[in-house]
Amino acid sequence: MQNDYEILGLNIDATQDEAKRAYFKLVRQFSPEKDPEHFQKIRGAYERILAAVTGKKDEELNFEMPDNPDAIFVIKAIRTLIHNEDYKKASNMAEHAINDFGESELLLSLLAYSQRMSGSSGKAVKTYEKLVKKYPKQNIHKRNLALAYYQRGFGKKAFTAFEKAYALGFRDCDFILQFSTCCRDRNNYSRGVEILLELVRSFDNTKEAKEHIDDYIEAYMELLTMNIFIINSRFDEIVKLYLEFTKSIGRLIKKYDDETFEILLAIIMAASEEDDDCNCINYIEEIFNETKKYLPQEKYSDQWYVITNKLIEVKMEANSHLSVEFQWCFEAFILAYKIYDDTIIRFAQTDCKLLIIERMPEIKEEFDIVKNEYPELYTAMEDFFKQLEREDISYIKEKLLKYYNKAEKYMNGGHYYELYPQERRNAEKLQWNSEEDGSFIRSGKKIGRNDPCPCGSGKKYKQCCGRNKN
């Protein structure tokens, strides 16, 4: 079988430019029109060669090439595999190559890299340790060893190695991000925040930096997460930097719409943890406006719905006149619609309804505050409020509880049983448990078809709630 270079009639050491010229010349000869089969072959070869040439330019894989043309060929093949993210094959090939051509720094690096990327972290640690020992002057191996340690799960060793490499001056995104997660794992949040802040501060408008926007976004995410745990919050600073960041990447933000909304949510959540004298709210608003320029409300209505309502929820939390139950209600009755599916929404709403019933009648006084200050929530819950006025509360509760107890077994995050654990036992009584006693036990007296309906409507049961029961 011909290799890619032979297909294009090139020497193994051809440059990118030569490859391009050869490709276009061949296309004129074998155009997709005249010879689609052969054209595909040429195109495939060209794409793979470009990948190998322009691919991984990383420092870590750029060591001196051997003179042996066979070795050069194998190395290019390994690089192509690495570019195509076929790391398993790449590491196998590198192992064979080391057997055939001996241990060169380049081959060992390629081996270690593909081992690390294919998940063979144990092997990677060994190879990097060998590299560090053999080439002590090459700092890059020390950086990579730290990454490999961390990947292998050697937390303590990794942390020390990270600090060493950091001291040697490594500051690239990948390194700092891994270092910071290592810090987080070891609960060293302040160190994590410190190095990440340094990273995001270094963002400038160069092309290189712009290629790593996703890394910077990840860094902000990490920052916001870790910042919650440190004593002297750097929230103000993070928000200010993020605003600058949003401004400078401009329309590039469109590519990272999901991530951006995640960050905005994280900012709002973090803001709620801050003290009242935090003056970051202006910055947050400015960030929103800046983001809306490229991620407009019309197009991202769901996301902005969540964001703006989340902000209301945060403000609600700070409202001392209002019980915490309403905050949960807000989540279940307003926010949930754009995030969760119907079963979860129903569960969350039932949860909230039960919580409110438990605190009746004192919570009833707050209904008016809700009506005045959060009209949206009030409208969403109006039916329930009216039901509370109209119907017998213990009956409503029983109905809700039956459903809740069933649903609670496969749902998370309900507050009700947490706050009122005794209710679980009450609910169990409502359920028919055939295994235990083999018969259905009614919790109350039987309701006759002609009895007044227990819902309090005044109608006969058969004409009210019992209408659909034969």
């Binding site: 391009k20 276009f24 010349k25 296309v27 004129r28 997709p32 029109e33 054209f39 595909q40 329309r251």
Partner: protein
Amino acid sequence: METIIGIDLGTSTTEVAVIRNGKPEIILNFDGEKVTPSVVGIDDSGNILVGESALARQIIAPEQTVIEIKRKMGLNERVHLGKTIFTPEQISAQILSYVKRFVGEYMEEDITKAVISVPAYFDEIQRQATVEAGRQAGFSVERIINEPTAAALSYGLSHLDEESHILVYDFGGGTFDVTLLEMFGGVLEVKASNGDNQLGGKDFDQKLIDFLVERFEEKNGVDLRKDIYAMTRLKSEAIKCKIALSSNEQSEIIIPMIANKDGKPLALEETITRTQFEELISELVERTHEPIDIVLNDSGVSEKDLDMILLVGGSTRVPIIKEDIAQYLGKEPVQAIDPDYAVAEGAAIQAGILSGALDGDDSIVITDVNPYTLGIRALSYDDFDYMSVIIPRNTTIPVTKKELYYTSWDNQTSALIEVFQGESSTASHNHCLGTFHIEGIPSRRAGLEKIEVSFSYNLNGMLNVEAYIPSTGNAAEITIDMLNQNDKKEQRIDVSNWKKSPLAPDFRPLVRRCEKWLSSGKIAEEDLEYVQDCLYSLKKAIIEEDLENAEWYENEIHELMEE
């Protein structure tokens, strides 16, 4: 060598060209004009009118006239023309058969083959509708070419020696397309295409009309929208005003007696300034930015590397468009080609390449891309409706790509392969092109059995999808012919198990001989497909234990081999 013509079937006008003496030439219609309005009408005695005569009647008989049919192509809509109801394809077919008639007269021969251009961002349904319209008009549509590609071809043919990155900005009457190409060594390589197939100059008109109608209602309290005659007059005046604003700072619209109020006639009088107009359409102009971003991103070319921005389409005459591009990309666009004829000329060049009218050293070679992502529905983590991409958008075609999939549950013995086209990561939001089953997966634990799915997409828009089980060699495939939806090939079943049929011993020698013959390479190319089909049908008949059919194909193969 049979002549093939190139047709630019536009939203508002249609142009036709052909290659003569190595150069494209625009064909004149019956009126001696290069441009034919894409308008179809019907007169009182039921005769179909096309072009200028239909346009002239629009003012007096708007309900007997159809305009801008291109915007409805591929939609499941019907249009009324007088008392008759037509599909959009049938209306377009009327325009095309008018084209066929005047081309026949101009060329003095009956032309039956054509290359028709469509906006790059037309989806498969819209392309199929276009092919169908051509077929109804009596054309065999040899190729559907993307309009920006055509425009670039018409530029490229006279600039063969250049080395440049060209951004074609095609803002037509009904659609908007951006395409990035690289011209290198006489090859025109399309790198990426994107656009908005519901954005065009007609939307500018609409904005202006809405504004005028609102102003009129404010002033006079009369809503013109219900009056189809008034609206037709208003529309033609609005278009004139839009055109005037390209060269003047302001334009006056006066339409006397457009409506009546309390028995008194009312006139519409309004002066529109260019700034006003620009404000009205600013939101539309804004919408062109996203496709530009996507194209730059997909092609990996930054705006600094652009050597030329080529303007195509009538709407690029609007000054704010040019200013907006210049500002957005930091480079002045050029009008190096005639925006009205470039697409038809490019289509003719493509036709010339196909027919052989253009050949040799001064010809141009072009490589195109597929504008939409292709893939299958697969399970990913907990997402049952995940669009697993096999050929990403803007991949150079023809192309063949493979992906490996694994069984999703224990003892899974068959899989449904559903082929989708579109950009959403949720498969069902995309357009389903076809489905088929692959059977005979060995019964094992989930994830242990592999299914290899390969997609081949060729220049004619033919997508072949094959599923293959490496452990047993079982295979099944489907061919989706994007150009000829009507004679869609039957769905093929997996025939690799034919040997297990009780009929197999009787036919085994023949099958083996035929297979040998197929792999020998001695079959003439034009017969190859037929032999393959016969062999497939024979195996199918064997599996289905259909002796009569099997014997028929046996005979057929015998005869073929003896020839």
